[in-house]
């Protein structure tokens, strides 16, 4: 009996010891991260929370609601990333997990850590704490303090972002009691309104102080910044120069910056200092949140049905009904999921109000980068805005009647665009900027009001064709691809003449020709190319060159000539890891050449380090779409 008692006691001791030591046995919990399996080059969503707590449930989810939202996101396949992951993605160095989420918890509140600890552990999620660093020394238990950050940093579930130092304060901006935001208004001092130089200096100092405070506390420089009050200077009350100054200064101190937006998606071409973050409604259920995010997700099929208000993201007064959509002055609506579209074919039927100017955007990245058709009583215009400014590519002399439906169609493929009014082609191919970022499709009322009766937008597949020349490609197929890779054998006069003809013909059809260097040594290949590019037609129409498994010397030579490269990689070699994509630059492409099995194996390796939207392979459209790459088609004689 005594022996039994002793034995039982040992069992109890062992069980209690296991219980007490359980945290040490299990080890420090870590977030779920398997970067080696990530292959998503489409983008990520940035969700922000003001905090977690009780009271004001529309703004702050309760702990229970927060856990529910996170569980629902996890169950729906979303996975979280860190700011470092987002930066690597935007720089084209690394892909993301499928359905990538960047969770931002603003305000540096302790309840954010406390109430997400359990859900994070359960889901393997990680988050980014956005810290107003002035509060690191605040007395009391509400905000995270320096000591807390040390411990939080050890928990591995958290990254840190800046949210201003004194920027969380409101400052006097006028002689009376008027207050304004620190980062976007010039301060009122004893000597009056501060000068623009002083304003810039104050703003710059705040960014530096915030970054340094976090770096000193956690030992790591933060990569990301979140604007306090969601104000980056774009609001009407901001100082006119505030947005630009903040933009410049934040870029000097942080590599990423988030503005509050009406949708959370950020694609590979997103501006790293104007990334979009979306405030999650505190009272949204998990199912509702997942539904909303699905609407924001990039899509590859046709869209734009005006009868489905859920398919659009409205800004301002837009009223959707069975008869279409009514746009109040200044209102805009974007097709959800169109943020990543590059080549697109969009048609819209609009009825303008008196003195209204409506715009059909085929690509809208920001107010500084877009491609659109404007419809005004004076006529149609096709305009493209890039860093170089606003260019009007086409202007129709025919006025547009008010209150009558006008159907316009804009097709964008590669660096070319075509415009139709009704069935009549008005212009095209119009030359577009060589380097362009994908953007969303939508409608906007620049001035006045208008009604949209119909809209349809279809992303065009970015396919590549491989053939000896353009003639090998059937005419009816030429519209299906954006570039043709054709061999360039030498630089003789005959070759040059043939190529000149081909280049001009292709350009007229909006097809880019990518010469493929066939010379075996880099010096010969570069010499051939140099000779051909003495012709201005070659120089203007050739932006990319293809080469099979290019050497470092060839790559360097091509890059020095300001040419992008399409590296044709044998699938077998790539599958074994013998191709190194390190020498490629952000404009370069990879074309995997091989049978399906070898190609898939090669892509599995390559897409871990190279963006899918600059990768092509000889796979069917469905498989290519699934992988996010461009399909390639070989046209044999």
């Amino acid at each position: 009996m005594k022996k039994l008692s002793i034995a039982l006691q040992w069992l109890v001791v062992a069980a209690l010891a296991a219980l007490a030591l359980q945290p040490f046995i299990k080890g420090r919990p870590l977030p779920e991260r398997q970067p080696e399996t990530w292959r998503n080059w489409q983008g990520f969503m940035a969700l922000s929370y003001a905090g977690v707590g009780i009271g004001a449930p529309e703004t702050y989810p309760t702990p229970k609601r927060m856990a529910e939202q996170l569980a629902a996101l996890h169950a729906a396949g979303y996975r979280t990333i860190t700011p470092a992951d987002a930066l690597a993605f935007l720089e084209g160095r690394r892909p993301l997990p499928p359905k990538a989420l960047l969770l931002l918890l603003e305000g540096g509140r302790k309840d954010s850590v406390v109430f997400t600890a359990k859900p994070f552990r359960k889901t393997g999620f990680c988050g980014t704490l956005c810290l107003p660093t002035r509060l690191l020394d605040a007395r009391g238990a509400f905000f995270l303090r320096s000591g807390d950050l040390h411990r939080v940093a050890k928990m591995k579930f958290w990254s840190f972002a800046g949210m201003g130092h004194a920027a969380i304060d409101e400052i006097p901006v006028g002689p009376g009691d008027e207050k304004g935001h620190f980062l976007t208004r010039r301060a009122w001092t004893n000597a009056g309104l501060e000068s623009p130089e002083a304003f810039r200096e104050r703003v710059a100092a705040d960014y530096a102080n915030c970054r340094d405070a976090i770096a000193q506390t956690v030992g790591e420089t933060p990569l990301a910044y979140v604007y306090p009050f969601a104000d980056a200077g774009q609001g009407p009350e901001a100082d006119p120069d505030a947005e630009a100054i903040n933009r410049e200064e934040v870029a000097k101190h942080f590599q990423l910056a988030f503005v509050e937006a009406d949708q959370p998606f950020n694609g590979p071409g997103a501006d790293p200092h104007a990334l979009q973050r979306w405030r999650v409604p505190g009272n949204a259920t998990g199912a509702e949140l997942v539904r909303r995010l699905e609407q924001f997700a990039p899509r590859a099929n046709a869209a734009g049905d005006l009868r489905d208000a859920g398919a659009w993201q409205g800004v301002g007064k837009v009223h959707f009904s069975g008869a279409g959509a009514k746009f109040a002055p200044g209102a805009a609506a974007w097709i959800r999921g169109s943020d990543n579209w590059s080549d697109v074919d969009v048609t819209a039927t609009l009825r303008l109000g008196a003195d209204a100017v409506a715009a059909l955007y085929a690509r809208h990245v920001s107010a500084q980068s877009f491609l659109r058709v404007t419809l005004a009583p004076a006529g149609l215009r096709v305009q493209e805005r890039t860093a170089g400014g606003l260019r009007t590519l086409y202007e129709s002399p025919d006025p547009l009647p008010a209150n009558e439906p006008v159907t316009v169609r804009l097709r964008v493929k590669g660096a070319r665009a075509w415009l139709w009014r009704g069935a009549e082609q008005l212009a095209g191919p119009l030359p577009l900027a060589a380097r362009r970022a994908p953007g969303r499709v939508g409608l906007a009322a620049e001035t006045g009001a208008f009604r949209a009766q119909a809209c349809r937008a279809q992303p065009l597949e970015a396919a590549l064709a491989v053939a000896a020349d353009l003639e090998r490609v059937p005419a009816e197929n030429r519209d299906a691809f954006q570039a043709l890779i054709a061999p360039l054998a030498g630089s003789s006069a005959d070759v040059a003449q043939a190529w000149r003809r081909t280049l001009l013909a292709a350009a007229a059809q909006g097809v880019e020709i990518v010469p493929r260097l066939v010379a075996t040594d880099a010096a010969t290949a570069l010499a051939d190319l140099r000779a051909l590019r003495e012709d201005p037609i070659f120089r203007s129409l050739i932006g990319r060159v293809a080469a099979t498994a290019p050497s470092a010397e060839l790559l360097q030579g091509l890059h020095d000539s300001k040419l992008a490269v399409v590296a044709v990689v044998p699938a077998a070699a790539a599958a074994q890891g013998s191709f190194d994509a390190q020498g490629l630059r952000p404009d370069d492409w990879i074309l995997v050449d091989g049978d399906e099995t070898e190609t898939l194996a090669a892509l599995d390796r390559l897409l871990a380090v190279f963006p899918a939207d600059r990768t092509a392979a000889f796979l069917d459209s469905a498989r290519s779409r699934e992988l996010g790459i461009a399909p390639a088609v070989r046209y044999e004689p």
Binding site: V114, R145, G147
Partner: protein, 554 residues
Amino acid sequence: MNLQPPDRRNATSPYEKPDRRRRARSRADYSTRRSSPRYWSDFPVQIVVGAGKSQTAYSGTARDVSDGGLLVESREIPAGTKRVRLHFEVPDGILPEEYHHGAMDVVADVRRHDAAKGYWGLQFVEPLSQRLARSTWALLRWLAIVLLAGAIATTLFLKYENYQFFWYDAPLFFYSILVGGYLVSRFVFAAFYRNPPPLSETPPVTLLVPAFNEEKQIERTIRQVMNLEYPADKLQVIVIDDGSTDGTPAAIARARALYPEVESIRFSPGRGKRHALAAGVQRATGAFIVFIDSDSFLEPDAVRRLLDHFADPEVAAVTGHCDVENVWTNALTKMQSVRYYVAFRIMKAAESVFDSITCLSGPLACYRRERLLEVLDAWETQTFLGRPATFGDDRSLTNLLLRRGHKVRYAEKAQCTTLVPEDHRTFLRQQLRWKRSWFRESLVACAFMWKKQPLMAVSFYLGFLLPLVAPLVVVRALVLVPLLQAVWPINYVAGVLVMSAMISSVYLLVKRSRLWLYGVMFCFYYMFVLVWQLPIAVLTFAETGWGTRSKAEI
């Protein structure tokens, strides 16, 4: 023996009225004749005779009170009265504490009337215990159960939270989990404690009473010892006067005049408690030797209940249950009352389940003679760092027995009371001495406790290490965090509150006394005051002085 009624104004503890005979010799088993004790009292009583319009109220004074009745002195009550209605409130300290719950309104029958003295012997129609059991005690019982369940549930929840946020502050949360687990384990193990069946034999027993300057209590101590329910021919009582300089020798002499069978030894000058007891052991003839303190007041069946445990031949020693005698003196003694109860009925009971209690308490402990003689010499001549060990006698003797692999137990039903310090200075010096002896003897016990039953061994080492870390935790919670972060130690205070609720609810459940709240007070007193003594005790544990030799007065 002075049989004059004692002064019961400002009573600090109940004073049991002796049986009319000096020893309960009228029964073969020496058991008491009374169903419940009677206590000296002196408080006003309103006596209502008659009912309705014919009722008349008279005043009187209660001279003694028991669960079943009152002895009232009143010359106003009409002769021939058979039944009365009484209104009275028993002042604190007259009855056992579970009876003190406010005013009483009871009906009583007249049992006897001494017209000459004006005494009326009144028997309650319903004993006070029955009445209280129906109302107040039932309510308190439920309150205690809810409080205990809530406290344990809250503790478990807090420990669960410690797991959830473990890596946020691993050292602190690991400590918190261990402390919570240790505390709950005391209650769990104590719940397994069982009293053995009564022993029918009455072997010869020697009772040793060492005394030093105890003139005020020694007579009562001896009287209560001589009132034990034990055959007189089997009970040897030896009083050892260890060099008293007050009226203790005279008091002993008076007691011996009343009880000639009491033996005495006198040392002058004194030799120290250990030597006094050792001398008593040398003279002892009993098969079992009981050590008590000179201010220990034994219940009549205390010795019998101690001996019940010796039916197991492997048991070497048993300690009794000790409550506080001077409960009602002030807040300090009330706090100690709760503390004592929990220390015995929970802590010692938890250890007794594994036959390895770590301290046979000085107020009441019984030893098997052969086992005691095995270690007596080593105990008497114990030195520490080259100097004679002059305190921690009880722990030291316990260690010697445990080291030899003997069973050492606790007897819940062997009850006594003892006087505790009534002022903070004396109390703190006593506590510091106890902590020194605890630390020293615990260090000694570390060498062999691992051989004990597994759960006991783990409990011992945790019980040794955790209090040593406690001051660091307290400094962090009460000093560093508030000063550096301006964060109020709400979590820490809440934790102490939960722990105190657990302790106090047990007291409430068993004692049904309104003193339970002082358990909460004691926990805070410990966490804010006593915990700071531990580092001092650790640093000074080689000191040999007692620090407190004066005793509290009744």
